[in-house]
């Protein structure tokens, strides 16, 4: 009897999972993204974190499929660990399912909203919400909840309707306030006890302007 129940449950689960298709629009976008073998681009970075004052920085980036992104700069640059995966290669690397969340209107355009839920334990995020521009076959916004590093959002703008990679990306992320060892503090440093008490994670933004794309597509 128990065996029969287990068998029935297994069949039910298998049918349920099979019913969770991957969104066809996302698959189209993924195929388009997968066609990028590598690209080089010039980055302009503006950091917007309440407790960090940093001038605008520039860097060059080099992306190659399935390889870590490389950066080079003459200056000291803080490069966000999250949010530079414009190709969404990392996000869609392991098996996943999608859930259709309908549509949303934003800035006069209608976008499809889907949740991406990984089914492979190796994926480092728990759930992602993507806004898809189905007309131009690209992602315009994503909110990714990671397993270890909190959540972050990416808002992307594109130079024209054909472009697959963004020209402007705003990465919003959570960041804990710096705890400076006392012996490094200058005497001019004020310690605001009230602020320290209220201290929790802060939201930071990094605004990336990307230019001079040199994209190599597979088969080229």
């Amino acid at each position: 009897m128990i065996r029969k129940i287990i068998l029935l449950l297994s069949l039910f689960l298998a049918v349920t999972v099979a019913a969770q298709d991957i969104d066809p629009d996302l698959l189209t976008i993924k195929q388009r993204m997968d066609s990028i073998e590598e690209f080089r681009a010039h980055l302009t970075l503006d950091l917007d974190v309440s407790f960090i004052n940093m001038p605008t920085k520039t860097a060059d980036m080099h992306y190659r499929k399935d390889k870590p992104v490389k950066f080079s700069s003459d200056d000291f640059v803080l490069i966000p660990k999250r949010g530079l995966d414009f190709s969404m290669n990392e996000l869609l690397k392991y098996s996943f399912i999608t859930v259709d969340r309908g549509v949303v209107e934003k800035d006069g355009s209608v976008y499809k909203v889907i949740n991406v839920i990984p089914t492979d334990k190796k994926a480092d995020f728990a759930i992602a919400t993507l806004l898809l521009d189905t007309l131009n076959q690209r992602i315009v916004e994503s909110e990714i909840n990671t397993k270890k590093d909190g959540s972050y959002t990416l808002a992307m703008q594109y130079a024209n309707t054909d472009m697959i990679l963004p020209e402007l990306v705003v990465v919003s992320f959570e960041i804990t306030r710096i705890k400076i060892p006392l012996n490094y503090m200058g005497k001019g440093t004020e310690v605001d006890k009230e602020e320290l008490k209220l201290d929790g994670p802060k939201t930071g933004k990094i605004i990336l302007q990307i230019s001079n794309y040199k994209i190599v597509y597979s088969g080229e």
Binding site: F51, P55, A59, F71, F76, I79, P80, K179, G186
Partner: protein, 276 residues
Amino acid sequence: MRALIAAEIYKLLRQGKTYFALAAIFLIEGVILISAYYQGSNIIDILLDNLKQSFYFEGNLLNGNLLIYLILNTLWFHVPLILMIIISGILTSEYKDGTIQTVMLQPVSKWKFLLSKYIVAIIFTLIVVFFLALTSFGLSYSIFGFGDLIVYLDTLNFFSSSEAFYRLSWSFASGAVSMVFFSIVSLTLAVIFKEATKTWIIAAFFLILSNLLLKVDFGNYWVNRLFFVKLNDTWQYLFYTEIDWSGIYWNNLLLIIYSMIFIAFGLYLFNKKDIG
């Protein structure tokens, strides 16, 4: 007056402790550079530990500008203390050796004699700060190279290399005014106490107290704004993102006025007191 100033410079250059003290300043500079060479990356790591969770770092922050900033921070205590010992010594040694009585037997006015010491003290202090700046720029850039400067003043402030050079240079200039103030105070203390050890202890106490009171809120805007202990961190203003130039001008002007008051007070006391 010129002859008196020349004589004072000669005496300053002839006394051994001048060179010991100068060697001490440059030894401190050397220790900072050597320790940074071997342990400097640890400081940066601690400072940026929280940021490592969110960012990759591209570039090197352990560079000449950071080292110059660390050397600049000796203006809080090390440099003024050493300057106060040397400067007070130019009068206390005269009392100790009895040469002051010999000088006063000559047709030399008392105020001119002391004023020449104040002038030499100012010149000497400016030269020391200038050489400290020159050697710190020269050694730090040649060993550690150029790069962005990172400073923590309420917020984590980053400055490009050229911006850092500009700010560090002005900071040394502003710091020189503060150092001149402490030198003048030490000479005035020498007029009061005459004896070297007493003067050194009181001078060190004055310096420590000034540093402690810098952080004290006196509860009155004008006291907080005008009291001399509140003016000695002006050279740090250069490392806020927005430079408060008017604050820097006013604070330095006030420090110069305080220095003149201490000179006038020293001259008054010296004229009034008996030599011996």
